[in-house]
């Protein structure tokens, strides 16, 4: 089981994503932005950060990178792809997921532990959660406001394409409290909050049992392992 983790110039969370993949039990394969070779990985994680300095629009230049073009083609063939934060922005700019992400409504960078509800579990990245499960993982971004046309929102709601929703307060003005989406096939998932920062006791969000004990992000990575093994 090999999971590729992409590094663009300006990516920040590739090492944390790689660590999460290892903790979940898979082998990490680093993928480089300029190389279109996906090295026969079984799944890909597009991690968070500020690819290309957020120039033009967040994720816009990364969406044109050789590795991204290869990922887009592979995703259309069913390769599981997860986009976290800037990775979600890359998925949106690549048109693998609809809509757009704009500056937070309150104009501030936000960094906090965020409550979410898992809205769909029929995906390669959420199958280990219970439908409606409430989880806490870190959120840290300035451009996390999800927007889409009324028509697109209606389709997302009607077809069950919302994967995660913010609960206990909308942190950034995202329409319909959308924190994450899935594609029709369920192999592509993108979300603004960071599951890779909630996979190991001592480093996660504060939990009921102890400080920094939150592990709610781990099931994302365990889900894809399950999905690939069962495929």
């Amino acid at each position: 089981m090999k999971i590729g983790v992409v590094t663009f110039p300006g990516t920040l969370d590739d090492r944390d994503a790689a660590r999460a993949v290892r903790i979940a039990g898979a082998e990490v394969v680093p993928l480089w932005h300029a190389d279109a070779n996906l090295l026969k990985v079984d799944a890909v994680v597009l991690p968070g950060g500020f690819s290309y300095g957020d120039y033009l629009r967040c994720g816009a230049i990364a969406a044109q990178a050789p590795v991204t073009q290869a990922i887009v083609n592979a995703a259309k063939g069913g390769l599981p792809v997860l986009g976290i934060c800037n990775g979600f922005q890359v998925l949106v700019e690549s048109h693998l997921l609809p809509g757009g992400l704009i500056r937070n409504e309150h104009q501030h960078f936000i960094c906090r532990d965020q409550r979410l509800r898992v809205e769909n579990v029929d995906t390669a990245w959420t199958n280990q959660y219970q439908l409606g499960e409430e989880i806490t993982i870190p959120l840290k971004n300035a451009e996390g406001g999800y927007i889409a046309s009324e028509e697109t929102l209606k389709r997302l709601e009607g077809e069950g394409l919302i994967a995660f929703r913010y609960i206990d307060g909308n942190p950034n003005g995202s329409m319909n409290d959308i924190a994450g989406l899935r594609n029709e096939r369920g192999n592509v998932v993108g979300l603004m909050p960071h599951p890779e920062h909630a996979v190991e006791a001592g480093f996660g969000p504060d939990g009921a049992a102890a400080m920094r004990s939150g592990l709610d992000g781990l099931k994302i990575f365990e889900s894809v392992i399950k999905a690939v093994v069962n495929a």
């Binding site: 033009l56 937070n104 104009q107 927007i147 889409a148």
Partner: protein, 82 residues
């Protein structure tokens, strides 16, 4: 050297936080007559020779597909400057 100028603006019905912050600052400075500010982008594509109709068509395609994101922005103008 000729330039193809592409102008991109955030969609009119979307919040433009950057414009709003500048409007607030102008109001604090006493410019009460400025009711709103919106901030977009001017992108210059420098070229070797005077652009043909085909070049402009290509620029329009680049502007729509890469320089702007149709979900959140509009290309409001493309023109040539010397």
């Amino acid at each position: 050297m000729p330039k193809i100028i592409v102008e991109v603006m955030p969609k009119a019905d979307l919040l433009d936080p950057q414009g709003k912050a500048v409007a607030n600052a102008l109001h604090r400075k006493g410019h009460a007559s400025i009711t709103n500010v919106r901030i977009g982008k001017r992108i210059e594509l420098h070229v070797d020779t005077t652009p043909t109709a085909a070049d402009l068509e290509q620029a329009a395609q680049i502007a729509e597909s890469f320089l702007s994101n149709g979900v959140i922005e509009d290309v409001v103008n493309i023109h040539v400057e010397d």
